[in-house]
Amino acid sequence: MTATAVARERLVPIGFSARRRQRLVVALLVGPAVLVVAGALLVPAANLFVQSFMESGGYGQVTYHFTLSNYTDALRDPVYRTVAWHSFGLGALSALICVVAGYPAAYYITFKLRRGRTLALFLVVVSLFTSYLVRLYAWDTILGSHGVINTALIHLGIVKEPLLFLLFSRTAVLIAWVNVFLPYSILMLTSSMQNIRPDLLENARDLGTGPLRTFTRVVLPLSMPGAVAAFTYTFILTSGDYITPALLGGTSSTSLANIVSDEFVALGNRPAGAAISFVMLTIFFLVYLVLTRLEKLRGI
């Protein structure tokens, strides 16, 4: 309940000077944060946006000459499209897995665990405490041809030769991404599920609804916001991660994020890098829009 709502309830009229004062108060409260975001994000982003329409005049130089070529080049380039397809596809797949795998865990933690709940959540959070880079490197040891899994499989006689596709492949990147983002997904889903009033579930049970239908009819729709958030979060962050594909991707080590980064660092071409970044942003935005629309459609 906002203060104004409370005030309205008590039918206290807000006088003119009170309103002015309120505006001042709001400005003071909200101002600093807005300044931070505006100064550190909006202005630089706008600047980058402008640059995306300029020409590149050699390494690190920008000639201020309007052109759409950065965008058309980026969108028309078949190589970029292939890379983008793979990058986004892999990112979306990992996001999907995180959400799907996260649901059982979140459900269990929210509704089934009583005393163990804090501990379980704590464990989930702890898995985030190790630098993600170092964890990345640990996958070599686990998935490598002389790693934990392969050694175990050979030892048990399940395979004769080590499975090479486990490491230095898109599979490895997928595994690493899910490992990193699953905790976040579980947390978001849990938080979303915690808002579901338990009596709703009880009502459903009382009415004789089986557990599966309770899940699909009650839990799923009500926790959709959390699922959408988890998916979008994972999707966006995996798309911006150029380190994981480079280290674990094998011969598929380029991602769209790599290309952007290289445009800036290796080629010194800010306009082109900027254009590709904004195309990526647009895609994120579209994905988010589509998901939220879908969610609204499913809504009760």
Binding site: L29, S127, V260, F264
Partner: protein, 244 residues
């Protein structure tokens, strides 16, 4: 599932004790040499100090700025409220790569020299959405009648805030601060683009991971893990005590 989550971490911890410089099996035996290397290395020490500085300043600024904004947005109905909310959450939609690049381009054009301060600015905008979410979700569940009661009893707005509101939202603020701290502490993408001649810990680890790695990286990570665990546990104890 926890096995999956913790497998890499287990490996990291295990190999921090490896006798040789290898990070792959076979495991050669137990040794503390990497821990000794970490403690005696000015490289790691400087990086840890730098990371701490950035993270602490980020936390301080974000907690103040974010709480104020949260209060503003939840308490008052004003034009542009939706827009403000959007702006607060918007940075979360951007990969760190983009934020870093945008900031770097901007600094280059405005001829601002890169340093830990530019890194802090980057971290600030990066973490705002997360803290804001925490604060707002807490304030939305906040019972304003408690404040009303205090006001009725004659307390002024500041006193009400200090005595009533703040203690009640403190646990959420602390949780948010912890989240922000760990986000800043582990951040590498934005940092990479906005840093000057210094290094933060994730950057050191990043560079190490890309080149000839030795388990001192593992040692550092294990230490950080242990440290964060201790930190979080003691904060929880503190919060629990506060609530008495």
């Amino acid at each position: 599932m926890f096995v999956f989550l913790f497998a890499p971490i287990a490996i990291v911890v295990l190999f921090s004790f490896n006798k040789t410089a290898s990070l792959t099996f076979p495991f050669h035996g137990w040794s503390l040499r990497w821990y000794r290397a970490v403690f005696s290395s000015p490289l790691y020490r400087d990086a840890i100090v730098a990371s701490l500085r950035v993270a602490l300043i980020t936390v301080l600024v974000v907690v103040v700025v974010g709480t104020l904004a949260g209060i503003g947005v939840t308490r008052h109905d004003f034009r542009g409220r939706g827009l403000v909310r959007f702006f607060m959450l918007f940075p979360a939609a951007l990969p760190g790569l983009f934020l870093g690049i945008a900031l770097l381009s901007f600094f280059v054009q405005t001829k601002v020299s890169l340093s830990l301060w530019t890194v802090t600015v980057g971290h600030l905008v990066y973490v705002v959405p997360y803290f804001f979410l925490v604060v707002v979700s807490r304030l939305q569940r906040f019972d304003y009648l408690l404040e009303e009661a205090a006001r009725d009893l004659g307390a002024g707005p500041f006193a009400t805030f200090r005595r009533v509101t703040l203690p009640l939202i403190a646990p959420s603020l602390i949780a948010g601060a912890l989240v922000v701290f760990s986000l800043s502490w582990d951040e590498v993408f934005i940092t990479f683009f906005t840093i000057g001649a210094q290094n933060t810990l994730p950057l050191v680890i990043y560079s190490t991971v890309k080149q000839s790695v030795d388990p001192s990286v593992n040692a550092i990570s294990t230490l950080l893990l242990a440290g964060s665990l201790v930190f979080v546990l003691s904060v929880r104890r503190l919060v629990a005590d506060l609530q008495q």
